[in-house]
């Protein structure tokens, strides 16, 4: 248990009569990619919302590096190194790629942001921002406004911003969504490289990517985890095949 970075314990959330999460307990260990899969409406996004603090669970708790963060708001969890990417873009369309990443670096280095000195005069922060952009392959478009980026580049930028937090754990909500074959391959390679930097809780529908990346997979159906195990265990699980994977294998 010592290498568990992030875990949920008995997390439950209902919206009226709909149980979006039911007694969900899972963990994320150092150096691994733990994929959460399941059909549409299984409660994956609700689960991520609860882990990251956007949705308050009815019961259960979230523990990051041994500390209970259940009562903390989104920004406080982020300050502790819980980084996330979004299924639907939340990027600021008017801002440049570099501004997004630079802001992430500045915010991580000094959460009380300065009010006077120009953001671009923080040389070491800009250097780190450019290094992060290079790692995700966005150096060439550093000065481009987000509105002018391709969908795949926006996904890459989302990952870059998460990396600026020096993350303890990465929670990624469908990073392959909307990417073509090349885009998915590129993102799969990128996530594969990142796992040693921070473990990744990966919610994803692209099963090729999941099978290529995941060390463990948990299957969420109607808010409940019906199976959890290695790729081979999940592939051969009869319940999982019936509930979700049947046509995808």
């Amino acid at each position: 248990m010592t290498d568990v970075i992030l875990r949920t314990e008995g997390m439950s959330k209902s919206f009226g009569a709909v149980m979006a999460s039911e007694d969900v307990s899972l963990d994320l260990r150092a150096g691994e990619i733990h994929a959460i899969i399941g059909p549409n409406g299984a409660g994956k996004s609700t689960l991520i919302g609860q882990i990251c603090g956007a949705i308050e669970p009815d019961r259960g708790r979230v523990v990051l590096n041994g500390a209970d963060v259940t009562e903390l708001p989104v920004h406080a969890r982020a300050q502790l190194g819980l980084a996330r990417t979004f299924q639907i873009s939340t990027l600021a369309m008017e801002d440049s790629v570099l501004e997004h990443v630079l802001l992430g670096v500045l915010s991580t280095d000094q959460p009380r942001l300065g009010l006077w000195r120009g953001a671009k005069s923080y040389r070491s922060a800009e250097d780190r921002a450019r290094t992060v952009l290079e790692r995700v392959g966005l150096s060439a478009v550093a000065s481009r406004r987000v509105a002018k980026l391709s969908h795949a580049q926006r996904r890459q930028l989302d990952v870059a911003i998460a990396l600026t937090l020096r993350p303890k754990a990465l929670v990624m909500d469908e990073p392959m969504a909307g990417l073509g074959t090349d885009g998915s391959r590129m993102m799969t390679e990128l996530l594969g490289r990142l796992r040693q930097e921070a473990p990744i809780l990966l919610v994803e529908h692209d099963m090729d990517a999941v099978f290529a990346l995941a060390d463990r997979i948990s299957v969420l159906v109607y808010g409940k985890i019906i199976a959890s195990g290695s790729v081979d265990q999940i592939r051969s699980n009869a319940d999982v095949r019936e509930a979700y994977l049947g046509d995808l294998l």
Binding site: C52, A54, P73, V74, H75, A76, A78, Q79, A83, R84, F86, T90, L91, A92, M93, E94, D95, S96, E99, H100, L102, L103, G104, L106, S107, T108, Q110, P111, L113, G114, L115, W116, R117, G118, A119, K120, Y122, V141, S143, R144, R145, K148, I161, A162, T164, L165
Partner: protein, 327 residues
């Protein structure tokens, strides 16, 4: 099209040239108009921090403008009547010193902005607009029902307050005082805009989830911006009251809030020099069209409609279109 930097320089230089020409041709009324432009631009600079940078559509900035005005009126009226403001537990006397009055105006309006912001920023959209409007109206009716300071009739100050080393009764000297404050306010606005805080505030305007995800509290960002915004608008109120040597509940009225917003929209929301361009255009229209008809606001309305429909960047945006974006 010209670059925004060039336009900014031209706006500042233009205002100075108008005043210089008026001074040389002995036209004090024009200097007074230019002073009014500078003061109203300061109010607009304040609102532009909340509105342009933070996306906070405040229809209550008259509250801060009025607080600044009454800070001047109350302190100066006590100084002029030689009656202390307070005798116990500590003796507080009135003052005719502009720097002291400015400090009080800044602190009082910042405190009001902190309280109003702490409550109203828990809402957004139309609710935020309505709550800020409601606060300003509360101040408006409070001022009307405050007979000690003139009630509905307002408060007159016989002699303009003093600034060390200057004769503020001389129009050109008072203009220079207000112009100096405007330059400082513009500098604050510019630095704020390019600072890490400004970057985060601007990002929060576009996407709350984005700034939360990098560990920033959007409420705190917006509240800080609202307080700075309110304080600058309060300072403008003190200058405006000194210009007129008169303060009245009208400074708190929703029309005043609307006019400050009009300066910002006409000039260009979020543009550093937008408030100056907007205030200059507003005063110019008021001066030129006001002589033609008492209902000159009809033309202003048509212009505002045109800006909103066809020139979202305002006057500054129209003149610099295509020059501010990169890549």
């Amino acid at each position: 099209m010209i670059s925004e930097k060039l336009l900014n320089g031209a706006l500042i230089a233009g205002l100075l040239l108008v005043v210089l020409h008026a001074h040389l041709t002995d036209a004090p009324f024009t200097i007074t108009l230019a002073t009014k432009v500078a003061i109203l631009a300061v109010a607009g600079v304040g609102l532009n921090i909340a509105l342009g940078l933070g996306g906070l559509v405040s229809l209550g900035h008259a509250a801060f403008f009025g607080i600044g005005g009454y800070a001047m009126g109350i302190l100066a009226s006590h100084a002029q009547s030689y009656v202390p403001l307070m005798q116990s537990p500590v003796l507080i006397e009135g003052t005719k010193s502009m720097p002291v009055i400015w400090l009080v105006a800044l602190l009082a309006s910042a405190l009001a902005a902190l309280l109003i912001g702490a409550l109203s920023l828990r809402t957004s959209g139309v609710y935020f607009i309505m709550i800020t409007l409601a606060f300003a109206q509360m101040f408006y009716y409070f001022a009307i029902s405050w007979p000690a300071y003139g009630g509905e009739d307002g408060l007159s100050i016989y002699v303009r307050n003093g600034f060390p080393g200057l004769n503020t009764l001389d129009p050109i000297q008072y203009f220079l005082v207000c112009f100096g404050v405007l330059v400082l306010a513009l500098l604050v606005s510019f630095r704020l805009r390019t600072s890490p805080f400004g970057l985060a505030l601007n990002a929060a305007r576009q996407s709350t989830a984005r700034v939360q995800a990098i560990g920033q509290n959007p409420f705190r960002l917006r509240l800080t911006a609202f307080v700075i915004s309110g304080a600058i608008t309060g300072l403008a109120g003190a200058l405006f009251a000194d210009l007129n040597r008169f303060v009245s509940p009208t400074m708190f009225s929703w029309q005043t809030s609307g006019e400050i917003m009009v300066f910002v929209i006409l000039g260009g929301v979020g543009r550093v020099m937008g408030p100056l361009a907007g205030a200059a255009l507003f005063i110019l229209l008021e001066h030129l069209l006001g002589g033609v008809s008492d209902y000159w606001h009809i033309y202003l309305g048509a212009l505002l409609l045109g800006v909103v429909l066809f020139a979202r960047g305002g006057l500054v945006g129209v003149l610099t279109e295509g020059r501010s974006g990169d890549d």
